[in-house]
Each structure stands twice: as structure tokens, then as C-alpha cells.
Amino acid sequence: MTPRLLLPVLAGLLALAPARLPAAEHLLTLTDAKGKPVADAVVSLFPLDRPPPPAPPPPGLIIAQRDGEFIPLVVAVRVGAAVRFPNEDRIQHHVYSLSPAKRFDLPLHGGDTIPAVVLDQPGVVSVGCNIHDWMRSYVVVLDTPWFARSETDGLVRLTAPAGRYRREIWHHRLAKPLVTELVLADETPLAETLPLTLRRDRHPVRRSLTDPGSSY
């Protein structure tokens, strides 16, 4: 896990600390229908018995455009996060989002010249590039400090105060988020393995940014 990707998790953990509540652990293993681990799923916990703790000062988030891809593909942030879109490629990109959670349009640009976009609404912001159809990134904007993203092992570890939660699992290939209620208890980690029914990824295949064979 790169330090950048750790940031939201750390932010969540930090948000937990002042509450001084006993911490309960939730371990989730996500697989597909065939049992293979599913990466890039975002699992979030929403407390049902109390309001979510207040958001910390908005952390910085970077979604880079590198080698014709958005890096990372999936990122989860707390509401209020500001995202920068630095372009590390030699060609320009036109970054946009038509998602209701956050609509923005960053016309062709190169380098790290455009201002950060503040994600002030919860929801999934699908980010695309107008001139490279395959480029995409998903920013899951959450109004809770307890969330995590699965890695390639499909494993998600969440630590939250004991209590009742609404658990939401989002994946870009899920038809809709998977919502469950669960209760976390002190000292007894809740472990679960969950197979997900993933849709086909209706997405254009990656092509060369410029002419085949030429470098950029």
C-alpha cells in the first residue's frame, strides 16, 4: 500500500482516536462467484445508533494521470476531501465527472496545473477522460470515517467502536451497493467471507495513447 493510499485509512483511524471507545474489528474477505479474491471494493460502516463522528480537516487526495491511466482506479475518501488531478503524461487529458455526487469538467490540461476538486457530497464520483475512453477512476465519497478498500487478496480489515452498523460494499462491477446491518462487539473480531456477484465490466479496452510503437 502506497503512503498516498494509506492516507484515508489513517484519517479514519485518527477520527476514531478522540472518541476513546473500545475498538471492535471486522474482517471481510471478498471473493467473486468463483471464489477469486476481489480487489478495489470499498467497504464502509455507518453507525446506526449515533451520528458519524465529525469529519477531520479535508485531506489531500491525488489521482494521477500516468501512462494513459488514472492511478488509482478506486479510492475511498471522506466527504470534503479535495482531489488533485496531476497529469504526468506528455499528452493532455480532459478529466470529467458526470456523476451526481460531483460534476466537474477539467478541459485538456497537462502537468499539475488545475485546481483541486473538493468532493463535498457523498456518493461515487466516476472520473473519466473525454479523449481516452478507457481511462477511469472511481472516488467513493463517504460520510463516515470507517471504510477500507480491498487489495488484491480481497481482504478488508475495519476497526470501529463496538455497536450497530450499516455496512455498505461498493464495487464498480456490482449492480448496486451491497447493504447489510451488523453488530460489532468488543474483543470478538467479526470475520466473514462474502462472495460478490460481479457484472461484466462494460468498458472500452485500453488502446495506445498515440500511434502504436511511438513513445509518449
Partner: protein
Amino acid sequence: MRFRVRVLLLLAGLVAAVLGVMLLVVNWSAEREAIAEIRDRFDRAAETFQNLLDRQFDHAAALASLLAADYAFKRAFADTDALTLKSNLRSHIDRVNDAAPGIADLLVLVTPEGDTRAAHGRSEAPAANTRPFAPLIARADARDTDRAQGCVWLGDRFHKFVLVPMLAPDLVAWVGLGQRIDDALAADLGQRSALDVVILRADGRPIASTLPTGLTAAFARLAPAAPAPSARPPVAHASTTPPRAVPHQTLDLVGERFLVLRATVPDFAEAGASVFVLSSLDARLAPTRRLQSLLLLAGAGLLALALLIALRFARSLSRPVQHLADHTRLIAAGDYDTRLDLRRRDEFGTLATAFNAMSTGLAERDLVRDLLDKNVSPEVAARLVRDGAALGGEERVVTVLFADLRGFTPLSEGLSAPDLVALLNRYLDRMSAALEAEGGVIDKYIGDEIMALFGAPVAAPDSADRAVRAALAMRAALAALNRELAAEGRPPLGFGVGINTARVVAGNIGSHRRLNYSVIGDGVNLAARLQTLTRRPEFDTDIIISDFTRAALLAPVPLRDLGPTPVKGKTHPIHVHAVV
């Protein structure tokens, strides 16, 4: 029935039969070929249709994909401004139809759930509370395909639609291009398959057709009942399924025979529409019908020609037969001289030659008979003709007469040979006539001597009387001849006659090649001897008969008894008489 008529009927019947069989065979094989050819087209029709539809879907999908990728379009969709979106749709459908005229009758924007967000085009937009594209999208989701496609009803218009995802960058909507299924599409299908095409609704109403309206309506009434819409085969594209051999039907549409097959086109079947391919058997057979008319015409000509030839042939057969029949009647009437000339080299010619040979043979037989009559006496000739020239003999009593010419030698002096013979024949002719008048048979001429028989070969009880009367007649005939000769200034002729009656042997005497009917025996020699006695002056008579003859006479004849006279070759004298 006359032979000529039979030949005519036979030939005409043969030609007609050959012609009829030929026409039947042509008809049968042409119909078989036509059906096989149509079936062959039928076999490929479903595949051809699906290929065409797939290509059209591909084409429309390509155009729709370009629209779906348009950023402004995506933004317009994301905006809730319906007016702007509609305007955008309008300009897009115009662009599409500019690029590919007629390909888009309706452009729709459908949410992933299947709700129509916006629509524009010359076709009617889906009604507000309907979700016609939902099944197509559900199918695409279920089959995990890149695009959704199929047929939908918009109002009472049948359309084929292709929907492609609008990605921003995930699926936010489906962009659909729809084209009406009408006669133009049917014509396109029909042209590719070289068949007629009729597309019917589940309720039997026509959607599109290549047939004239009347025929389409007739077909819609007769069309086989539509089966329940069959599910698509579980493969991505129906075109990969092999065309199934479905039995065709034969229908009569307004008097025209059509072969009909329901083509398996899943895109249509799913929407409850049936595609029928048809082909007019009669239209396909039209060239054959023309050929048959020509054959019939040629056949009629041939028949006429055959009749003409048959007529000539029959005549050429019956005419010589008639000639032969006529000739037979001529021959029966005894005309052996007329010759049959058919001027033919065939069997009739041979027959004619045989007839002529027969005539010749018959004529020769008559001639032989005639000659026989002249050379032998008519009685002998008749007997020969009747009994055949059998050798052998019989004993019978006959009277033999010998007549010898006297005074011929001085008469013949100074005469040429022909004159001599003529004179001799003149004498013999008179004598013979006298003899034959009494039924005498000239046995032979021995130079100027005559030997005649009475009572042979035909028995005559009065042979002696006949012989004596004949001798007297000869005497008179000679006197008459002598008067003629005297008038001619020639010396008179004399003769001596000897007659004897005796039992002799009579028969055909001679070799196998040459026979003479004659008599042999002492009595014959005696007659010849008696003739020589007339030379003796003391007897002073020219006719001497033996006493045997006198005894045989039935009627008295004036005689002068000369008494027994020694005769050469006889040991005892013979009693002789002179006829006064």
C-alpha cells in the same frame, strides 16, 4: 380398315405418343428442378437474412457508438434539460442520416433500467408508460453482450433497434438507433435471397412484403399459423446456427402456385413476427412453359409432316399392291403379254419381276400347248395335258390308215425347195383336214406319206367306218386339189390309201426326252403294205382295205372284192377289198 389408313394412324399415333411423352418428361423434370432450386434458396434464406440483419445491426451499432461517445451528448444526458437533450438528439439523428441515409428512423436514449429518457425521429416515440427496450437490455445483460438489439413495436410500426452503452466512463445510458421494417427491407432481403419475402405479425397482419398487395393479403390469409416465439439459441449470434431443413409448403395464391417456407430469424421471432420466404413456381416454370409451347408447335408441325410422309408412304405401299392386284386380274383373264413395270428397286420391284416371269411362264405354257396341238393331234395333246406324258402302252383295236402321194416326183421337177414344201404342205393340209374331219389322228408324216389312226388314243367303235369315210373324203379332196392344180397348169397328183383294222399296242413311245404317241404291231405294217398294193394296175383302185376292216364296218360301203392277195411279210395271202 384400309391399309393406307392403318399406316397413317400408326405413324400419327407414334409421333403423338413420342411428343406427349417428351412434353411430360420436360414438364416433370423442369418442375423437379425448379423445386430443387427454390429449396436450395430456401435452405440459405434464413442464414442470408440473419447475415443481412447482423450487418445492418453492426452498421447501426457503429453509428450509435459514435454518438454515444460524443462528450457533449454525455453532458446533455447528464443535464436534466430535456429541451437541450432533444435538440441534441435531433442533430445527431440528422448527422446519422446524412452519413447513412435512411438508416435511422428513431434515435432513443434509454436508462440502464430500460426507461426511455428521450427519443427523436420520424417514427413514433415509445408511449410514456411503456418500456419497449427493457427486454432488449435485459437480454444483453443476461447474455453479457456489448450491445442490445432486437425488434420492437412502436405503435403499430415494427422496428429493429440496436442499443449501445453510453459510458461516462461507466454505463450511464443506452443510445439506440431504430429502423422501420418495411417493404424496402423486405425488398433488400428478397433481392439477396432471390426470393419473395413476406413478414407477418403474430396476428397474421402483414408488416412488409415484396409481393403485390393483393398477393400479400392472400398470403396473410393462408399463412401457416405462427408458432410461439422461439427462444434464441444459446449462442451469441444466431447466424452461427446452421440453417435447419424445414419442409416447405405449397400454396395457391390467386391462382399462382407458390412454395413457402417460414425462415428462422430469431430477432423477428422474439418480437412475434414471422418471416416467410416464397417463390412462385409458376414464374420459375415460365421459361419451360414457353419451351413447351414451342415444342408443342414444333410437334404439331412434325405431326403434320409425319402424316404427309405417312400418306405418301402408305400410297407408295398401296399403289403397287393395287397394281399387282390389277395385274393379277389381267393374268386371270388370260392376258400374258402385258408386263408390270413398277419402277421400284424394293420388294415390290422383285414381286413385279416375279409376276412378269410368271406371265412369261404362262405364255410359254400356252405356246407349248399350242405347238403340241399342232405337232400332235389335238386329242393326243389333250390326253397328254390331262394324263401327262406317261410311258407305257395298252392294247386296243384301231384302224390304221396309210396314204402315199403319187406323181409328186414329176411335179416337183423344176420347183424350188420352198415351192416344193408349200405344195407338199398344201396336199398334206387337205388330207389332214379330211382325216381330222372324221376324227382321225395324224400319227406322223413320213415324207409325203401320212399315217393316221382311228380309235386311238380315243376309242371309237366305228373306227373302220370313220377311216373309210375319211379315205373317200381324201379322194374327193385330192380331186378338188387336182382341179386347182390343173387350173394352175400343173400336172395332177394321185395317191394310194391302205386301211387295216387290227389289235395293236398304243402308247407314248420313245425316250424320256422325246416321245411319240403311236401304235405298233403287225396290223400297222399290214396297213402300210395294203397301201403299196394300190400301185398294182390290176387292182385299179387307189383305196384298199383289208377284210378285217370290212368286217369291222358298221355301215355297208360299196366295195369290190379283190380276193386273197399275197402280201410281202405275210405267209398267208390277205383278203383285200377296193373301195369303189
